[in-house]
Amino acid sequence: MTATTLAGGDAETRFAELLERHRGIVFKVAATYCRNPADREDVAQEIVTQLWRAFPKFEPARSFSTWMYRIALNVAISFVRTNSVRVRHTVALDESHDVEGSNGGTTEDDERTKLLYELIDGLDALNRALLLLYLDERSYRDIAAILGITETNVATKISRLKQRFAREIGAQ
């Protein structure tokens, strides 16, 4: 994203374009932190609301997706923390809906999705963010910038996540 790109059109049009291009980030973050469809929808809309509120301060020289990830993760983590009881109570009811063929993919896809959710469920809020960023193929540098930790720390944590995943797969 460059300053030239942002120069044309009014803020609302620019925001709508950028949101459309990167809306997958909103969905992925919402799905990582909420399993209940109503909660996911609330979080997704809250993320977009906060993105719009923060948009006037967005500097075009910066990466839009990095900026978007920061806001989306901050909103989702805050949502889960303030609504933790409600979220916990509804997860079990909706779990099967997410896993069984909801992606319209193959059995192998469903198995991967199931494993992903199992891994996510066993992680705290910050490690979930780390996992999502890694699996969404963000660079270590980006992950460090989004989370506010060092690249070395990112590498160490990802290495541990890999070991943990290998252990859990081996145990199954």
Binding site: R23, A44, T49, R70, L126, L135, A145, L147
Partner: protein, 216 residues
């Protein structure tokens, strides 16, 4: 299977929630949600109330002491003024921190700030409340007028000051032991559980979680 094999599953996460409606202009123009800041609204209002109360106490203190040359009344008025100033400054500090929250800051930084704010919501209550072990004495003296040979006898004053000092000492002892305990100690958890609400414990727990995440 390796962790990398789950990248495909993440890429498909958005398909699973295609039912999320209206991620369009209509969504962000409604602006009726804003739950992120709404969750901090009680903290904001409580501290706004604290600032207002501080102003009232400052005014009460100022109304009486300059018109009466009694040294005891002067000291009482000054004590109220100092307390009011502390109340106002602490309250404004939290209000400014909430207003300055910038959600596009790094996740660890902003989550730490949010958890810290929730914790300070409870802690400020203790800090502002503790001086009342003694502060009601100058307030009573200022409001009702000082008469140390009559209504406010020296015996009455001394007794209440001693009781107040004992109360403050007890409170300080308690907090000293609370703060020197490691964040993840069972003893600290039990102390906090006995005196604070769920939100304080949740904020403390999350701060410890963030600290572990930064450290590991």
């Amino acid at each position: 299977m390796e962790l990398e094999d789950l990248k495909q599953a993440v890429a498909q996460l958005d398909r699973g929630i295609a039912e999320v409606r209206g991620l369009s202009a209509a969504t962000y123009k409604e602006r009726r949600l804003d739950r992120t800041r709404a969750s901090l609204r009680p903290v904001l209002w409580e501290h706004a109330g604290q600032v207002a109360l501080g102003i009232v106490i400052a005014v009460v203190g100022q109304l009486w002491w300059p018109e009466n040359g009694a040294p005891a009344l002067l000291v009482a008025g000054l004590a109220l003024q100092v307390y009011a100033a502390v109340m106002i400054v602490l309250g404004l500090r939290v209000i400014v921190s909430i207003r300055a929250l910038d959600l596009d800051a790094p996740v660890v930084e902003i989550q730490k700030a949010l958890a810290g704010l929730r914790r300070s919501y409870v802690m400020t209550g203790f800090v502002v409340g503790m001086p009342w072990w003694l502060l009601w004495i100058p307030l009573a003296m200022v409001v009702f007028g000082v008469d140390l040979n009559g209504r406010f006898s020296w015996g009455w004053l001394t007794t209440n000051v001693v009781i107040g000092l004992a109360g403050i000492a007890g409170t300080l002892w308690f907090f000293r032991h609370l703060w020197i305990e490691p964040e993840d100690s069972e003893r600290r958890r039990r102390i906090e559980a006995s005196v604070s609400g769920k939100s304080f414990r949740a904020a403390q727990g999350f701060l410890a979680e963030i600290a572990r995440f930064e450290r590991e």
